[in-house]
Symmetry: C2
């Protein structure tokens, strides 16, 4: 307690850097990244409004993955710094009390001052869900892309496995604008750590929902639109409209001309961001 | 073809009775049953608007289960009669083309003239999902009731098993108004064919969504609000606030005083309606 009971100067409080695990239903968001108000509601925007209310001052927030309009997240990670004197549980409760129902802070951790949600991340993990069903399925389509034609999952899995390793993915996406200076090749080369496809059968709900296919991708980083364009192109492979050789040729061409259209945002979810275990272990 | 090519009189066409399997996301509906327009949008209302557009005349629709406001369905069954000359596939496509995205006709079948979706049904099956999680989970709460405290699934399963068989369920619901004349006992006695609880673990999404508990109930018919009040009371058992003996006493009392409050509608889904196999085999 300061002598004489005078309130401690705000500037004298130590600056604490915090990380938060964030989940959101992306349906009603124009993506993660803050935009001008007239361009729409964003996840970063609603979190920064909440954190400002909690801290009593503007608290800029950094996100590990800049998810697009309509993309969901169960494991987004954000970082921010504040002088507010709140313990971790109080931060979580206060943020959640100020967030809308479609965003929630699932955990808060104290991290080292140099932590940066995006730059400190080792890898991002995404899941994409496809529902194979000729008929609309209202209970599934909020979180899955419905495809009306059959897909050969084994062929899709063979194509997906070819993505693992370091590749120039420029056929499937573009480098974010604000990361210049990495050199020509560095711009669009990413290291795919895991890529898999498997079928999830509908069980006794089969009549009401067709079969579900789940694609999972982990990479050090992803190009803008990369997962959705990979999924759109893999669906062409699954439908027999592209051969495995043609898929490889598209990847190797670094040319956007022959790839499939991007799969819809609703099927995509950022499930996890990996950090070095001594930096952030969630 | 009528002689002379004159259009056949509408009345001369045979009346066909059809059954349709219907799925809907109940979030934005004031339940299944048609109401006055100012009381809100109902599933029956949007289906009857669609069927009228398809058939060119009013087509009253009967539903097997009168789901409440906010309750979902993956296997609702409706029946209706029409003189429109459309094959089954054309009926399905035309209805779906005229239905909003949150309702879909998953199948259409021709049935005997005496078929009635509600009266011909042998049993209804409901699923209720509980998410046990102290923190909001935006990707799960559209289709599950989030409970912030731990639940003992084994004790809940023991209580649930006691429901199987013929019981007077008046402690948990009331008889629909329009079924009088069944006598005192007949009013609120229902035969529970199956009742079970099991835990569905979250796998690698665990961090983002806690553990999920699924309750399943099948009965010849259900009282109004019965499943949600059973679930609300079983949650008290799971939380240790009611003993098994107290749960039995509530069931046997036929008294609404000590039951739990109804669990929220979002967790409930009508998954299936059973008919004699020779009547409708879906």
């Amino acid at each position: 307690m300061a002598e004489g009971g005078a309130p401690e100067a705000h500037e004298a409080r130590p600056l604490t850097v915090l990380a938060a695990l964030v989940a959101y239903d992306g349906t009603d968001f124009k993506g993660f990244q803050r935009q001008s108000a007239e361009r729409g509601r964003t996840v970063q925007g609603v979190i920064e409004r909440a954190s400002e209310r909690v801290a009593g001052e503007a608290v800029p927030v950094v996100g590990a993955g800049r998810t697009d309009t309509g993309v969901h997240a169960s494991g987004q990670v954000i970082s921010f710094a504040s002088r507010a004197r709140l313990d971790l549980g109080a931060w979580q409760r206060a943020l959640n009390a100020n967030l809308p129902p479609d965003v929630a802070v699932r955990g808060v951790a104290m991290v080292a001052p140099e932590f940066h949600a995006r730059r400190s991340a080792l890898a991002r993990r995404y899941r994409y869900r496809i529902l194979v069903d000729p008929v609309r399925a209202p209970l599934a389509e909020r979180y899955a892309w419905r495809v009306a034609y059959p897909l050969d999952v084994a062929t899709m899995a063979a194509a997906t496995a070819l993505l693992v390793g370091e590749h120039d993915f420029s056929a499937f996406g573009s480098s974010p604008r604000d990361r210049p200076g990495e050199g020509y090749r560095g711009h669009t080369v990413r290291k795919m750590l895991e890529a898999s496809v498997h079928c999830v059968h509908g069980g006794d709900e089969r009549r009401a929902g067709g079969s579900q296919i789940e694609l999972r991708f982990a990479a050090n980083a992803f190009l803008t639109g990369m997962v959705r364009r990979l999924v759109g192109t893999l669906a062409l492979v699954g439908a027999g409209r592209l051969s495995l050789a043609e898929f490889v040729a598209i990847l190797e061409s670094r040319d956007k001309a022959h790839r499939g259209v991007a799969a819809p945002a609703c099927g995509l979810c950022l499930t996890r961001v990996d950090y070095p275990a001594d930096v952030l272990a969630w």
